[in-house]
């Protein structure tokens, strides 16, 4: 049972904050406003994390407490990338790799301390870093190809799926903070309905990948998130790229509904696998 105050702080505030950033920020950044989506996600998620579990001390004591710090770091990089628009693309990738590499090392520190050998640790870190960068590459293309409303819808569906799946995988706390990310994305989606164009820019993809990766890895390694569910949730927003251009561009509503259908199918499968893998639910517990 979640108290109404916690719901307001963990879900309501993130949604309002993200909507305010996406809607209001565009007035001061008309030329290049794609980074505002990342800022909205990071700050909205951070506010929700603090609302549900409290703002973590620095340095964080447990893996999931690093997620808001990593998200804010990614938002700073998104802002810097926008401010220095003429910086070479390779530098952008180096910065992405550094941030994700550091975040992965922080999230996986307990596994490296108690479970893995040095060789296994290096293998996991390298493999997951490659996967995270591939996710960035794919999302760069997919989200920029979608209308803002459809792009935000894909993000909402993905975080919504992560929320439900994590809650089914043994950790309600991870489900709650994933819900904060979903709420922030919902706020961003709401802001796109206002007049004016508010794209989910390439600069914001790193924030999305960072938050999603942190939640999925904490669920995978520290709760009982099935690997198949984690993989499906990781590729879920990319599935929006499979929607034919004719459907995507027919109308704002049509594009968003197509995204709900395709991404929803993938996250639904992930949640179904988690539900099937979970011990029988006993309402008495």
């Amino acid at each position: 049972m979640i108290a109404p105050t916690a719901l307001l702080l963990g879900l309501g505030i993130p949604a309002l904050l993200a909507a305010a950033i996406v809607a209001g920020g565009q007035r001061v950044a008309i030329a290049r406003s794609g980074w505002l989506a990342g800022l909205a996600l990071a700050l909205g998620y951070g506010a929700g994390h603090a609302g549900f579990l409290g703002w973590p001390a620095f340095p964080a004591r447990v893996a999931e407490q690093w997620i808001p710090y990593a998200a804010c770091g990614a938002a700073v990089l998104a802002t810097l990338a926008t401010a220095s628009a003429r910086s070479p693309r390779w530098l952008d990738w180096v910065l992405r790799a550094v941030l994700l590499g550091v975040a992965l090392a922080l999230w996986l520190r307990p596994m490296m301390a108690y479970q893995w050998t040095a060789a296994a640790s290096a293998g996991w870190l390298a493999g997951l870093l490659v996967l995270a960068l591939l996710a960035c590459l794919g999302l760069d293309r997919v989200l920029e190809s979608l209308e803002p409303c459809a792009a935000w819808t894909a993000v909402v569906c993905t975080f919504g799926g992560i929320t439900v799946t994590l809650a089914l995988s043994g950790s309600l706390a991870l489900g709650q903070i994933a819900g904060s990310a979903a709420a922030a994305a919902t706020g961003g989606l709401g802001a796109t309905l206002l007049p004016g164009r508010r794209p989910f820019g390439r600069e914001s993809v790193l924030v999305l990948v960072t938050i999603a990766a942190g939640l999925l890895l904490c669920g995978l390694f520290y709760a009982d998130l099935p690997r198949a569910s984690a993989l499906l949730l990781a590729v879920a927003p990319l599935a929006a790229g499979a929607i034919p251009r004719a459907i995507r561009e027919r109308s704002t509503l049509g594009g968003a509904l197509a995204v709900v259908a395709v991404v929803g199918l993938v996250v639904g499968a992930a949640a179904g696998i988690a539900f099937a893998s979970s011990p029988p639910f006993d309402s008495a517990y």
């Binding site: 893996a63 999931e64 043994g170 706390a173 520290y222 709760a223 517990y285």
Partner: protein, 193 residues
Amino acid sequence: MRQSRITQIVLALALGSLALEATLAADAYSIDTAHSAVMFKITHLGVSTFHGRFFDVSGNYSFDEANPAASSFEATVKADSLDTHNEKRDQHLKSPDFFNTKQFPVITMKSKSVKKTGDKTLAVTADLTLHGVTKEITFDVKQVGAGPGPGGGFRSGFDTQFTIKRSDFDIKFMPGGLGEDVTVTVSIEGVRQ
């Protein structure tokens, strides 16, 4: 020359017997996991109390009956050995919401001081490390008994019960559903080494 040799032998025997006496004075025991347990109880929704148990307890202790202050112990509990007789609840309790057993796989307790308080009772101050947080706690220990085991070894056993606040160990999830106070009962049986 011969008198000197005899003196050396006498000295060696004396030192040897002193060492033997010291060994006997503070007997070293290894915790018998099969006959030891750590149990806890906590209120649920403020209406009832539910119990859980950690089955995997290991460690060592030395017990000096004549000089209890010289006694000490060190125990390790595998957090993943938690069992509350409900698979779904166990999954949740082991998750990051509560014991976070993958990130904090062991619970440890190490004595700092032991004082005799009665015929078979001791007051112990120890460092308890739970969920990655270390706190000093003080509790009473009762010696249950001591005697020969079935395989010929000598055994002794101790019981204790103490209460901790879970938020002191940064376990704060579901404050309305679960109580703040956790009563821990420890029963240890050791085999003399």
